[in-house]
């Protein structure tokens, strides 16, 4: 019961943190602005706040939340705390899809952006490929899973380099800018669309949060207790691909958010997905928005891609995690 209350408090605290970041982060940047002037709608502070910085912070919030939730999903699906969209090569597949769409100028179908569609398809393809490589006789080892993920990432990176070299100069520039990753100012409508997709996926996942607990224990364990395992896993794979694809299409590849956030939450509050899914969303949102603020200010007026910051934090974290469980990896 005490744990339950501490989980509620943690969720509330994370929600407050997200709101604080959403209001505070846009105030930070190369040009100092004043919240009072923003509130009063005075120029240029209000314009900088509302048109340059707020959409970007909102994008970082939604993207960070989505990436963290995707980490939770993938980790439960393969029962491995090391899994995340980046590690599994799914982000690589999404990038390749996006770059293909940019390079060949595919504008999409039925009003949906081609880059989004291609990135989601690429994510799904990479995910299937990695799982096919890592599965042997119904079993999966985290060792082959990681190797397969690295391999897919390298193949995708090579293909992207190749594409970058053969396309026209104009496209090549777009590809390069996109590849740098980050949360360059976007339109509100783009953030809105992304938020819609993320909210829909979150709602679907939350309805089955109890079943995710059982799947995180084992497929047989879940099946023997009445969970429709196949359907849950397919939903998870589609949801994970969709989230990775949608986020990657807009921000470019950003790594390790899906690895750090769920793991840190589990250490303190346990693995119950009814808590983990919303908590990962809120914490991931705040985490990426804060990283983005750092990326925007440490070398101002120059900017570092936010993916650099998350990788600098995530890399050592990943190594520590790997070392802490080396025994279980080798045996």
């Amino acid at each position: 019961m005490r744990l339950l209350e501490s989980r509620r408090a943690a969720l509330a605290a994370a929600a407050v943190l997200v709101v604080a970041v959403a209001a505070g982060a846009p105030l930070i940047g190369p040009a100092a602005i004043d919240f009072g002037k923003v509130w009063a709608g005075l120029s240029p502070d209000a314009e900088i706040f509302y048109y340059a910085r707020l959409p970007r912070v909102l994008l970082a919030l939604v993207a960070g939340g989505a990436l963290a939730v995707t980490g939770v999903l993938f980790q439960a699906l393969v029962r491995d705390a090391l899994a995340d969209p980046y590690v599994l090569g799914v982000a690589g597949g999404a990038s390749l899809g996006a770059v293909l769409a940019i390079s060949f100028g595919w504008h999409g179908a039925a009003g949906v952006s081609g880059v989004w569609l291609a990135a989601s398809a690429g994510a799904a393809a990479a995910l299937l490929l990695v799982l096919a490589i890592a599965t042997q006789g119904g079993r999966m080892s985290s060792f082959t899973l990681l190797l397969a993920g690295i391999t897919i990432n390298s193949i995708c990176a090579a293909a992207i380099l190749f594409l970058h070299n053969i396309v026209e100069f104009a496209q090549s520039f777009v590809v390069l800018r996109w590849l740098m990753g980050g949360t360059q100012p976007v339109e509100y409508s783009t953030v809105g669309w992304l938020a819609l997709v993320v909210a829909a996926v979150l709602a679907v996942m939350m309805r089955r949060a109890r079943d995710w607990n059982l799947l995180a224990v084992g497929e047989e364990w879940a099946a023997a207790r009445g969970v429709a395992v196949e359907r849950l896993m397919i939903t998870g794979f589609i949801a994970g691909s969709l989230l990775t694809g949608a986020v990657t299409a807009i921000t470019g590849p950003i790594g390790f958010v899906g690895l750090i956030v769920p793991h840190a939450l589990r250490i303190r509050w346990g693995a119950d997905h009814r808590f983990l899914i919303p908590a990962a969303f809120l914490t991931g949102a705040a985490f990426l928005a804060i990283c983005d603020s750092v990326a925007r200010t440490v070398m101002a007026p120059a900017e570092i891609p936010v993916g650099v910051i998350t990788a600098m934090l995530g890399g050592p974290f990943f190594i520590a995690l790997l070392r802490s469980r080396r025994r279980s990896l080798w045996l």
Binding site: L3, A209, R210, W221, R225, G226, R266
Partner: protein, 265 residues
């Protein structure tokens, strides 16, 4: 009375090798059954098929007249519960959370009802696991884990309990306790208990019926004295054995007791 389980010409093949080939077998409510046999005899495969976890079998395995692979999963999970040999967790679930997962076939919403908490409380009290209910499952010893997994199966309130070597990691006290729990369930609640085991003496002491499997086939079946004859044990396990009847009428099996015959085995 109609048997709960009816197996007929039940077969299973992995990579071309036949691992199970049961001609005819049936189990009734309230029975306590031990399945014994050497490693690779097909014990786990048999339990897995009966638990609805292996659908690639040939022949027929019916539960309450309906083919197991055709049962919808949720109602089946309310009737049949399976206790795996070991459970390894990657993530930090507490013992209580693991037991609560047994209530899944009864829960519809996101949260559990009061009767779910009561069922968990009872199951954990029965298995003597309440004292570490809040501990991370992964930090428990092998025997403690086994009791928690059994508690999860009890919380499921099944009519059939299928157990794969339920006592492997338990100390003597808890081995006896588990067998008493299982016998209670079968006597008072008419639960059918089918347990695969390596401990022939406990099988003899607690079971109504013993099924001896060897290379996928049933080589002996019946009440303990009938199933566990010395010649069966020698042929199946390849060791000399002597079956003695004790004063209270129970059986006691001694291995390596007959050196002249043990030499050829």
């Amino acid at each position: 009375m109609r048997p709960l389980y009816e197996l007929s010409r039940l077969g299973m093949r992995y990579d071309g090798a036949t691992v199970l080939d049961v001609a005819e077998l049936s189990f009734c409510a309230g029975e306590m059954i031990a399945v014994v046999g050497p490693n690779g005899a097909g014990k786990s495969t048999l339990l897995g098929i009966m638990a609805g976890l292996k659908s690639g079998y040939t022949g027929s395995c019916r539960f309450e007249g309906r083919e197991v692979r055709h049962w919808p999963r949720r109602p089946f999970a309310r009737a049949v519960s399976f206790v795996p040999q070991t459970l390894r967790l990657e993530f930090p679930f507490t013992a209580e959370q693991v037991v609560m997962m047994g209530r899944t076939p009864y829960c519809d919403g996101l949260f559990e009802a009061p009767e779910d908490h009561e069922a968990v409380e009872r199951a954990m009290a029965t298995t003597d696991t309440l004292e570490f209910r809040q501990r991370d499952f992964r930090s428990l010893s092998g025997g403690e884990r086994q009791r928690v997994v059994l508690a999860a199966a009890l919380a499921q309130e099944p009519r059939v309990l299928l157990l794969d070597e339920p006592a492997t990691f338990l100390d003597v006290k808890h081995q006896l306790a588990i067998h008493d729990i299982l016998r209670d369930l079968s006597r008072t609640d008419e639960v059918l208990v089918v347990a695969a085991t390596h401990d022939l003496n406990q099988a003899a002491a607690y079971s109504d019926r013993i099924v001896v499997l060897d290379r996928g086939k049933v080589v002996a079946e019946g009440e303990p004295p009938l199933a566990l004859r010395p010649e069966v044990l020698e042929r199946v396990f390849g060791v000399a054995a002597r079956v003695e009847r004790m004063d209270d009428g129970g059986l006691w099996i001694r291995f390596g007791g007959a050196p002249d015959r043990g030499a050829q085995a």
